[in-house]
């Protein structure tokens, strides 16, 4: 029946080529219209099962929480310059507007702490234990008692709690205090030396001491973060691109006025934009590279250019059908399906090669056009159908995957390939017929009587080589087995790269700045997110998470909204501070004798900081050690600047001016200190409604009915798989709703790993079943399968030998190669059955040439992915390139040996 259908189709092409061409073009226009609706989304979460809790929660976070998807501007340079640049660009960015609808892109920009809230409730935000230790500090703003109390609290602090500098948060809090102290000393020196007389400087020093640094500054003060909260989310793709571009334009433009500053964009939105834009671009140019490479190869192989052009045209039409069907079936391309175009180019061209190869061979033997078309359909049509349908079925097997990424690859690639297969049977033969008729007409018009000589374009030497292998079948089979064993051992050693950042485009600012943030702020952008239903649950969750050793820091609402019980515990301490401070009289003078006390307390302060520095050194706490060094110098370098010692020497040598300066400092600082602390000493209960939007948006959704916790990991998890597993299992133990990149990627590894295995087994089964049905013989099905199985082993073994690792993207190559690599064996075995015994040379010269060409074109198509800026695509391209080559070689060598063995047996 199959032969009858193929004959009928051949007849259609011979009799009505124009009708076939027009019909195909009409359908192509319709499909093209659908194709224009296709979107692209490069989010890793889109690869997970749709019902995955991680995905559901992740999408919830993106949709509900305004600040969860943001644009982060990282500005680097000297402290004053980066602050000035920040103040300059913030107003500009606030006004950025979408030209399409005139709406502002930006909702809010956070680049400083919300000082107003802290000024009112600052003391209520300090833990009761810390208040107990530090309350002395707030009790007297006059200079001498202030310094004395500061020293007392230092000594009490690290005597009372040695763990003060042993955890991340405690380390950060001591760094804030040390920073305040450094600023205080410098400011006092400026007043003493007459460098400044401005009240603002004294007030700034007080603010630094009691409120900390207002800007979101890095530890080394060489970088600042500007957090831009947009009016759109990541789901609005066109705004994501235009909005990010608008902010980028402002950042770049303003840099011209600040040449000493570096600035760039990162965060979920710029990363999403880059992933999408570069994903589209790389698909574009890699497809073009693939087309050009294939066209050149075909021209060289067939020694003509029209037929190869027709093959490309046929492929383009097929791709339009494929993309149109993709738009109908899945609506949007994800990270994995974005690569399918190149896969379809590499595979789809194969059908055309077989058709052209057989057709031109027939014509070269002098057969008429309609006979040549019939021969083509009968001799290679079956092979093309079996090979094509087998590959489609193999890809379709991927729909059993639980991951959406692989499932959609299965749908898109199988349907796409089927579309190209159909187009090839309906379109290309008519083009060839029309071309041949035109040529014949031209020859007739020129009255050329002699038939044109068509060159024999089979690969004779290739055929001879395979014949040689088949004659020495024992050695061929033994060498093949030994080689397979060797590569099997190599394959068993291949490792898996869990670092998803290695899949992202290399060198992109949005990617490299994530490392900058990790380096400068000691904060990983790969945090986990947990949503709760209310503030109390958020607090309970945070309490549990604080015991989790794999978490470095938890950012949640109780930092600004302590529980009622906590606030009650803190209230007596605040009241005591209030009482004491209210009754404190601001001294108008500093006596000469008090100057000695100032010097003595500075001396004591120096010793306290030196001891903190030594403890930090012994404990390996480098950040604290470095911060102390900025104040008291490096112990290993006696020449290093010690600002306290320097100030003491100045005061001792310039008592009069020093005293005068300190009096002035006290005149401005002390009343401001008292006023500020009294304001901060509100014992009013903080409730949710008191929190300003700039704080609430970080932790609550728009309706304030859901609350977000951010969990920062203690380590870089992408270089330490154990840590990733620990972190995610710790989170799962506390909440099954934890999401964010770490849980998402961990789930993805698990799902893709399982899917890959299941899909591979199912593919092998499906392929074998189809071969069995096609050949109607178990023996021939096995013969066709053996080179495929060997080819997959060779592929993985060779990947290991060239230093490649398996990744969450290229692991897809394994089931795909099972569907692709079978083609070679199928064509050879089919041809062998048709031609009969002792025809190895001819089989491999003819069909061998076709499978050589199809393999090379497929390799070229996948090889073009190596040029992709997306390293994930590049790794897949490399794996498939090796895989297709391996399957071709294994087919040629192993089948030569097996055929030789079987024919000798006969």
């Amino acid at each position: 029946m199959r032969d009858n259908i193929l004959k009928a189709l051949a007849k259609m092409h011979a009799l009505h080529p124009w009708k076939m061409v027009i019909a195909v073009l009409i359908i192509t226009i319709i499909m093209g219209a659908f194709a224009t609706q296709l979107e692209q989304s490069m989010r890793w979460t889109d690869l997970l099962p749709t019902k995955s809790e991680k995905t559901i929660q992740y999408n919830k976070v993106i949709n509900e929480f305004v600040s969860a998807t943001n644009i982060i501007i990282v500005v680097e340079g000297e402290e004053e310059a980066i602050k000035a640049y920040t103040e300059a660009i913030v107003p500009q960015i606030k006004l950025a507007t979408d030209p399409k609808d005139g709406k502002l892109y930006v909702k809010r920009i956070d680049y400083k702490q919300d000082i107003d809230f802290i000024r009112k409730h600052g003391l209520m935000l300090i833990k009761a234990d810390d208040l107990q230790n530090m309350k002395e500090l707030y009790q007297n703003p006059n200079l001498v008692p202030l310094l004395t109390n500061l020293n007392n609290s230092f000594e009490k602090e690290y005597v009372g709690r040695e763990e003060s500098i042993s955890t991340r948060e405690k380390e950060d809090s001591i760094l804030i205090i040390l920073d305040g102290v450094a600023h205080l000393i410098s400011t006092m020196q400026d007043y003493s030396s007459g460098k400044t007389h401005s009240p603002e400087e004294a007030q700034k020093a007080v603010d630094k001491l009691i409120l900390g640094e207002p800007y979101l500054l890095s530890y080394d003060k060489q970088a600042v973060i500007i957090n831009v909260i947009p009016n759109f989310s990541m789901t609005d793709m066109s705004k994501m691109v235009s909005g990010t571009d608008a902010v980028q334009e402002i950042v770049d433009r303003m840099k011209k006025d600040f040449p000493e500053v570096k600035a760039g964009l990162t965060g979920m939105i710029p990363l999403g934009r880059d992933e999408m834009v570069y994903g589209e671009q790389s698909m574009g140019y890699t497809s073009i590279i693939a087309f050009i490479a294939i066209l050149i190869l075909l021209i060289l192989s067939f020694r003509m250019w029209v037929a190869p052009l027709y093959a490309i045209l046929n492929l383009v039409v097929g791709l339009i059908w494929a993309i149109g069907l993709t738009a109908i079936l899945v609506k949007s391309l994800n990270i994995m399906t974005s690569m399918v175009t190149v896969i379809l180019i590499g595979l789809g061209i194969d059908f055309s090669i077989h058709i052209i190869s057989l057709f031109t061979e027939s014509r070269s033997m002098g057969k008429p056009i309609d006979q040549s078309i019939e021969d083509t359909f009968l001799k290679s049509g079956k092979g093309i159908l079996t090979g094509g349908l087998t590959t489609c079925a193999a890809f379709f097997a991927l729909i059993i995957s639980s991951s959406r990424g692989m499932k959609e690859v299965g749908i898109v690639s199988s349907v796409g390939l089927l579309a190209i297969l159909i187009v090839t049977f309906l379109f290309l033969p008519s083009l060839l017929v029309l071309r041949e008729r035109r040529l014949e007409k031209k020859l007739k018009e020129k009255r050329i009587k002699s038939k044109p000589v068509y060159q024999d374009i089979s690969l004779k030497r290739f055929g001879r080589g395979c014949s040689w292998l088949s004659v020495r079948y024992r050695a061929t089979i033994i060498c093949a087995v030994l080689f397979t064993l060797f590569l099997l051992i190599s394959a068993s050693r291949i490792s898996f790269d869990h670092n998803y950042m290695n899949m992202e485009p290399k060198g992109l600012t949005s990617v490299t700045l994530q490392d900058t943030i990790l380096d400068k702020f000691d904060l990983s952008m790969d945090y986990a997110l947990i949503v709760t239903d209310n503030v109390e649950k958020s607090r309970e969750m945070a309490k549990k998470l604080k015991n989790v050793k794999s978490a470095a820091m938890i950012d949640e609402i109780s930092m600004y909204l302590p529980s009622w019980e906590e606030q009650q515990k803190r209230t007596p301490h605040i009241q005591e501070i209030n009482r004491y401070l209210s009754n404190t009289v601001i001294e108008s003078n500093i006596l000469d004798s008090e100057l000695n006390q100032v010097i003595s307390e500075l001396d004591r302060l120096e010793m306290n900081i030196m001891e903190i520095q030594d403890m930090a050194y012994m404990g390996g706490q480098d950040k604290v050690d470095r911060k102390c060094s900025e104040i008291v110098g490096y112990p290993d370098n006696p020449q290093s600047l010690n600002i306290i010692s320097q100030f003491i020497v100045f005061l001792e040598n310039n008592r009069q001016s020093g005293l005068k300066g300190l009096k002035e400092f006290q005149k401005y600082a002390a009343p401001y200190f008292k006023e500020s602390v009294l304001k901060m000493a509100s014992t009013e209960n903080i409730v949710l409604e008191d929190l300003p939007d700039s704080i609430l948006d970080r932790y609550a959704n728009r309706d304030r009915t859901q609350f977000l916790l951010t969990v920062f990991p203690a380590e870089n998890m992408w270089t330490n798989l154990n840590f990733l597993q620990r972190f995610t299992s710790d989170l799962d133990r506390i909440s099954n709703k934890a999401t964010g990149m770490p849980p998402v990627m961990q789930e993805l590894f698990r799902v893709v790993g399982n899917d890959g295995k299941n899909a591979a087994f199912l593919t092998i089964f499906v392929v074998f079943l189809l071969l069995w049905l096609d050949f109607r013989s178990f023996k021939y099905a096995i013969i066709a399968m053996l080179p495929l199985l060997a080819g997959v082993i060779w592929m993985v073994g060779l990947m290991y030998l060239v230093g490649m690792q398996l990744t969450v993207v290229n692991v897809m190559a394994l089931p795909m190669i099972l569907g692709i690599g079978i083609d070679d064996g199928v064509h050879i075995v089919h041809r062998w059955r048709i031609e009969g015994s002792k025809k190895i040379r001819q089989i491999f010269a003819s069909t061998g040439k076709a499978i050589f060409l199809t393999s090379i074109t497929t390799m070229l198509a996948f090889g073009s992915l190596v040029f992709s800026i997306w390293r994930g695509f590049s790794s897949l391209g490399g794996a498939m390139f090796i895989g297709v080559g391996a399957c071709f070689l294994s087919t040629v060598i192993i089948l030569s040996g097996i055929i030789g063995f079987l024919e000798r047996k006969k």
Binding site: E155, Y158, V159, G160, R161, E162, E163, S166, E171, N547, K549, S550, M607, M610, E611, D614, M615, Y617, M618, G619, G620, Q621, D622, K623, P635, D636, A714, E715, N720, N722, F723, R726, D730, R733
Partner: protein, 264 residues
């Protein structure tokens, strides 16, 4: 007469056989120690009356750099009193730490400021000087006997040695950083060649692994000259090498005083 002699000979043979079997059984079954006995022997070994040592400790700082310290260590009353005096690097030279009452009280001397400060009293579970060891890990005093119950899990080859495998479970009401420990104790000499430490909050979570290498007999006491604590969670490790060790030396009580901290 002849039959009588034969009878006596048979009795003697049977009696001898019986006695051989009896004492052999006694010998074989008598060797099966309980978990408590094993831990007791181990504890006695680990807590010598006095120890004087020169130690090299390598830690990883928060920046990921390796930092090496060398210090003199003195211990008395089976770990109740401890003094560490740093020799290298130059920056740490002269710093000293005094621990009394099994590290319940800790003082530190800072040579730069020439001051002695008393540190927190709740540091037992915290990291010791940036290392992956906590004060609790060393099992000073009879911590392993008093704070944990023990259970024998059988035998296992660990680090090439035939070992008893013992599980130590934290007793109720005891404060510890660990829910349980698994120890591998060498059968020959009752020295612990490896210890796994599990989290107090999540008992299935392996926090740290201690491996003791190069076990030599020093003053007839098995001593690991190299110990490595692997922090499984943070993928870090701290190694301690015993450059010199002496046991049961004369150590005066005055060595373990605040005053002595300041002496060089």
């Amino acid at each position: 007469m002849e039959s009588k002699n034969r009878f006596i000979t048979v009795i003697i043979i049977f009696t001898s056989l019986f006695l051989i079997v009896f004492y052999a059984s006694l010998f074989i079954f008598g060797q099966e120690l309980t978990a408590e006995e094993i831990i007791s022997k181990m504890n006695k070994l680990m807590n010598q009356d006095t120890v004087e040592a020169k130690v090299k400790m390598t830690i990883i700082t928060t920046s990921g750099e390796e930092r090496v310290f060398i210090y003199d260590s003195y211990s008395k009353n089976r770990g109740e009193k401890n003094l560490l005096r740093y020799i290298e690097p130059k920056r740490a030279q002269g710093q000293a730490i005094l621990m009394l009452n099994y590290a319940d009280d800790i003082w530190m001397y800072f040579p730069r400021t020439k001051r002695i400060r008393k540190l927190a009293t709740n540091s037992k579970n915290e990291k010791m000087e940036g290392s992956d060891f906590s004060y609790e890990d060393t099992g000073a005093s009879d911590a392993f006997i008093e704070n944990f119950s023990s259970k024998k899990l059988g035998s296992e080859i660990k680090e090439g040695r035939d070992c008893y495998k013992i599980e130590m479970l934290k007793k109720e009401g005891i404060e510890s950083g660990y829910s349980h420990l698994i120890m591998w104790i060498i059968k020959d000499n009752f020295y612990p060649v490896a210890i796994n430490y599990y989290d107090a909050e999540s008992p299935e979570l392996l926090l740290k692994t201690l491996i003791q290498y190069d076990i030599k007999n020093i003053d007839d006491i098995p001593t690991a000259t190299k110990m490595v604590m692997y922090n499984q969670l943070e993928n870090s490790k701290t190694s301690i090498e015993m450059l010199e060790v002496k046991y049961n030396v004369e150590l005066d009580d005055s060595l373990f005083t605040e005053r002595n901290l300041q002496r060089k």
